[in-house]
């Protein structure tokens, strides 16, 4: 090879290396930006997180909490560390929210903003630190439910979606689907009653508790249908038995995380859920 050709080649190699470095840098920023919906949370600098955020949405009586408990045990059995979150569980404001809900004096918008405060507090103090440490965060509902609840009460969906624009984009979002009639049956069997908010009594849909529950949950489901399309939910029918539905969940999670086996039998602590 001539000296000129060698020089040309080395210049080209240099240029390629520079390009690759640039690409890598851009890629990193892009990954960071994509972690959040619109803009990063104030005070958060670009960094790589190895953790995963897995959300389970679904109405009351869809078996959400049961499946999250089971998924947690299965993931731990596979050697993954798990953190959980849910609505109204922040240090900052959960207690106040409980009290406010008990009194029913709050307007829909204030309630929506208090729930958003609760979610952001968990995001900053629980979810992001866990993701940073490489944990898998299982979310028992995320802002999708909150958007749906507020939207059926007349607050613009876009308004709320923008408020949640600084939250983390989930790696996977499951939606457990169950008809409201079945959800009612399950909830009633579990608690021997149906709560004021679960049946949307503040919306004065019907004097019949059953009618109110069914009509409210159907409205919520309608909102979740829209969000499901937009955010690419993985929809799973929750009408089947717990082991069946849980198997479907494990299959999806295993594929995402690169786990080979989805075989699982819960420990004695959780076996009562396995029916």
């Amino acid at each position: 090879m001539s000296a000129a050709a060698r020089k040309k080649k080395s210049v080209r190699a240099d240029r390629n290396r520079k390009k690759a470095a640039e690409l890598l840098e851009n890629d990193l920023d892009l990954t960071f930006a994509k972690r959040f919906f619109d803009t990063p949370l104030p005070g958060h600098a670009p960094e790589e997180w190895t953790g995963k955020l897995i959300v389970v949405e679904g109405s009351d009586g869809s078996g959400r909490s049961t499946h999250i408990a089971l998924l947690k045990e299965w993931l731990e059995s596979q050697g993954f560390a798990v953190e959980t979150m849910g609505l109204r569980r922040s240090n900052l404001i959960a207690r106040d929210l409980d009290e406010i809900l008990a009194h029913n004096v709050v307007t829909s918008r204030t309630l929506a903003l208090l729930y958003a405060t609760d979610l952001y507090d968990q995001l900053e103090n629980r979810i992001i630190p866990a993701l940073r440490a490489g944990l898998i965060v299982l979310a028992d509902r995320y802002f999708f439910s909150l958007v749906a609840r507020a939207a059926v009460r007349g607050i613009a969906r876009g308004y709320l979606e923008k408020i949640y624009g600084m939250t983390i984009r989930p790696d996977m979002t499951f939606r457990l689907k169950v008809p409201p009639q079945i959800a009612f049956e399950r909830e009633f069997r579990k608690n021997q009653m149906i709560s004021f908010w679960e049946s949307g009594r503040d919306m004065h849909l019907s004097d019949s508790l059953y009618e109110s529950f069914v009509s409210y949950q159907s409205k919520i489901a309608g909102e979740l249908d829209v969000l499901s399309k937009k955010y690419g939910f993985i929809e799973i029918s929750a009408e089947g038995s717990i082991p069946r539905v849980n198997e479907a969940l494990r299959r999806h999670v295993a594929e995402h995380l690169g786990i080979r086996s989805t075989k699982f039998t819960p420990s004695s602590a959780l076996i009562h859920l396995w029916r």
Binding site: D38, T39, L41, P42, G43, N91, L92, I93, D96, I100, V105, V106, T107, R109, T110, L113, L114, A116, T117, Y120, D121, L123, E124, N125, Y159, K162, I163, G165, M166
Partner: protein, 249 residues
């Protein structure tokens, strides 16, 4: 009281800002018969004193008025003060919790009273959030969306004094600055006084940027109290048809 002119780059109130339409029952821009008067400005700018005097004048003259303060909803108060005391608040939750507080006051006091034909006087309004949360790093577009349900003020008085003047008014005769008040959560300085100065400067910049976009009436906070009040009353009289708010016997 110092009489020096503010070292401001912004135009003063001498040049009239574009006047919004007068409040009339058939003005389609206003879905309510009430009127909203807002004061804004950094701590020590003199805004609360002036609004108090305006309130006294309107009360004594027999008008239907309601006075509301920033961050005062009883519903959210315990969470906010606990969050501040224990330093649990981050820029995002600080902003959200104040928005919840405002929503509660807005939907249970401000809006219903505007609808029933009151003059509502607000000591700080959404612009406080824009300036302060903006200084904490919340994006402006995000903040504007968050507060998009707030009724548009009929007059927004922006009280402005040079940073040094405002800061001296606050620091004289005050035992200690509070953590968030001094912007200590931003890590600007380990010295609370130094941090307070930097933080107030950032908020002042935020306010100054809104003068043009949000139709502020700029008030020279270094003027004598009674002179400034006379000026303020004149502006209120010229922009709002006060007869509509007289208490009917």
């Amino acid at each position: 009281m110092p009489t020096a002119k503010p070292s401001s780059t912004v135009k003063t109130a001498a040049q009239p800002a574009p006047v919004p339409p007068r409040v009339t029952p058939d003005n389609p821009q206003r879905p309510y018969p009430g009127a909203l008067i807002v004061v804004e400005g950094i701590d020590g700018s003199g805004k609360s004193t002036q609004l108090y005097l305006l309130k006294r004048w309107l009360e004594i003259s027999g008008y239907k008025i309601h006075f509301t303060e920033w961050n005062s909803s009883p519903l959210v108060k315990s969470a906010t003060s606990r969050g501040k005391k224990k330093k649990l608040l981050t820029p995002s939750t600080f902003s959200m919790i104040h928005a919840a507080d405002f929503a509660d006051r807005c939907e249970r006091q401000i809006l219903p009273l505007l609808q029933s034909g009151y003059l509502v006087l607000a000591d700080r309004y959404i612009y406080t959030a824009f300036a302060r949360d903006g200084a904490r790093g919340c994006p402006e577009a995000w903040l504007r969306n968050l507060y998009n349900f707030a009724p548009q003020p009929d007059i927004t008085f922006y009280f402005r004094a040079p940073l040094e003047v405002s800061i001296n008014r606050i620091l004289v005769g005050r035992p200690a600055l509070k953590y968030h008040e001094a912007g200590m959560d931003l890590g600007l300085s380990l010295d609370p006084v130094e941090s307070f100065k930097i933080f107030q400067g950032m908020i002042l910049d935020g306010y100054d940027r809104m003068v043009a976009t949000d139709n502020f009436v700029l008030m020279d906070g270094t003027q004598q109290v009674n002179r400034l009040q006379k000026h303020m009353r004149g502006i209120v009289r010229s922009r709002i048809d006060l007869n509509r708010y007289r208490v009917k016997p």
